[in-house]
Amino acid sequence: MIKYIIRRILESIPTVIGVTIISFVLIHIVPGNPVRIMLGNHYTPLRAAELTKTLGLNKPVWEQYFIWLGNLLQGNFGFSYTYEKPVASLMLQALPHTIIIVVVAVLLAHVFAVFLGSVQAYFENSKFDQIATVINYFFYSMPSFWLAVLLVIFFSIDLPWLPSGGIVNTQLSNPGFGDWAKHLILPIATLFLVSVAGWARYMRSSMREALLQDYVRTARMKGSREFRVIFIHALRNSILPLITLFGLSLPALLSGALFVEEVFNYPGMGLLYWDAVNARDYPIIMGVTVFVGLVTVIGNLIADILYGLVDPRIQY
């Protein structure tokens, strides 16, 4: 097992290096002088000379890459001239905001999808199953940004219950935890609704297959109660593919978060990236690209290892 984990970690190192190369290359396909581009409106000859030296731009390209990589490894993601701040500190500021909405939405979506998919599979082709399938299809095909806008219209404008964006009500003198939580509801709800549909569809077919297996029949024959048969015997096995699915859906989740953050003006990584793209703030663009790539690789790694841990049938 340990051997397998180490092998998987070693295998993902080339991918991580590849991600850094892609991010590096992306910036270098931009036409024009990189120093002028990075400095943008903050261009002064002095700053240009300084930046040329830090980035080693007078050196060959491959050496520039290693200088940049060396800086990354030390946690130095470069300096943003639009914010006049190091990129790393900007990312650290934005990261917790994104983590909270993504993690809460994913957890809720998983629990709900497992439940809904199981019930649908158990009552296959019933009225409930059919209606749920149609609703799933609807949300599965729904663009996250339109759903976000609709939720704002329904719950912030028509029914003025929830704030339409941001993370804090600036009109309150002492905004507390409750105010903050209120600002999280709609972003989380959007991510939840767009993720749950796909996972429930998957869970339904996985559970349907599990219910046809011999061990389910055996469990019934030995007199286990139906609840136990479904939620202990069948569920434990049908839930496994969802672990892999989670790893695979990470890029989609991060994309979804970008749209959601833009609509709700929510200061996470997605909004940081979108603002950076609009301002052509290349150090942030590079930093966030490397970061999301890293998250995806690590997410898949964890999903793979987890799958091996929970499924004793996997041999190494």
């Binding site: 080339p14 991918t15 590849g18 991600v19 190369i21 892609i22 991010s23 992306l26 396909i29 931009v30 036409p31 299809y137 609807f138 599965y140 095909s141 729904m142 663009p143 940004f145 339109w146 806008v149 609709l150 704002v152 219209i153 404008i157 890029p251 989609a252 991060l254 994309s255 970008l258 749209f259 833009e262 609509v263 990236y273 979108w274 793209v277 609009n278 052509r280 663009i285 966030v288 690209t289 999301v292 790539g293 995806t296 690789v297």
Partner: protein
């Protein structure tokens, strides 16, 4: 040698041909698939025949009737600069469908070639080629697409290639996986044994067997491309004006949502949704029809 192999090859091709009518029948018998086809047909008619019947410019501004609610003159109202929303939806549909299908076709061709070569080559060539796909797949497409659009400010042709630049990845992975299994089938080994060249094996044996997978994957890519294009426009980095796009219309409408301008928000979103639902339904129908064949 090759001459002798022809009867055997011919019989294999016959079997594949025989499947076709049954395949279409299976595809068409599902009610959901029919719904998908009708919805897509509706979108095509709406976007291409619509402007022939409803002859109003999508680009002209009616400066005396800005932000007008739906009326006899403007069935879906006008936006903040007086564009006719209905006319814009129709023209926006044209670019969405064209870019969506074109990007999926480009991705399909490139992804299939890439996957076939990788799978057939095997060994370290395969490892390197697939590792490259893994790396590109690790960065969520929207991050790459946003960046490319910001840097290159694409026209419609560049947009097709930008969208295809990430869409081919999934296709190539699926094709490669299929190529790996088919490569070890007896009939491919037999073909090798009688001296058939690799290129011929790829065209005559591999391709007919993966065409189903490719078709299903590419169908979903059409939906993805339309969604990404709308998403990019929504984020303000789509096709440059005056070309209207559903995503861009929606983001304009968002600025006026506090004024209850529902006609700026529901119609474009609904169009994107119909495009997604119809193509996903067709993709599911194709997949079911193909999976039954394999059973």
């Amino acid at each position: 040698m090759i001459q002798e192999s022809l009867p055997l090859e011919a019989s294999l091709v016959e079997t594949i041909k025989d499947e076709r009518p049954k395949f279409i029948h299976r595809f068409w018998k599902s009610g959901m698939t029919k719904l998908g086809v009708f919805l897509l047909l509706f979108l095509v008619l709406f976007s291409y025949v619509g402007p022939l019947i409803y002859r109003h410019s999508a680009i002209n501004s009616h400066l005396l009737a800005t932000d007008a609610s739906p009326s006899a003159q403007f069935p879906l109202g006008t936006d903040s600069v007086g564009h006719n929303v209905l006319a814009q939806l129709m023209v926006g549909g044209q670019s969405s469908l064209e870019v969506g299908f074109a990007a999926a076709i480009v991705a399909m061709i490139f992804g299939t070639l890439y996957g076939m070569i990788s799978g057939m080559a095997g060994g370290w060539v395969d490892t390197v080629m697939m590792r490259f796909v893994d790396i590109l797949l690790s960065i969520p497409s929207i991050f790459i697409l946003l960046f490319l659009n910001a840097v290159f400010q694409p026209n419609i042709f560049l947009m097709i290639f930008v969208l295809a630049s990430t869409a081919w990845l999934g296709v190539s992975r699926l094709v490669r996986a299929e190529a790996l299994t088919i490569k070890n089938q007896l009939y491919v080994e037999a073909a090798h044994a009688i001296g058939t060249r690799t290129l011929r094996i790829m065209v005559r044996y591999l391709f007919p067997n993966i065409i189903g997978t490719v078709l299903v994957a590419s169908t979903f890519q059409v939906a993805d491309a339309i969604l990404y294009m709308a998403g990019l426009s929504f984020l303000g980095l789509g096709l440059p004006p005056p070309t209207p796009n559903w995503g861009g219309m929606l983001s304009d409408g968002m600025n006026y949502m506090f004024q209850n301008s529902w006609w700026l928000i529901y119609p474009p979103g609904l169009c994107i949704l119909i495009a997604q639902v119809s193509i996903n339904l067709i993709g599911d129908g194709l997949r079911n029809a193909i999976e039954t064949r394999e059973r």
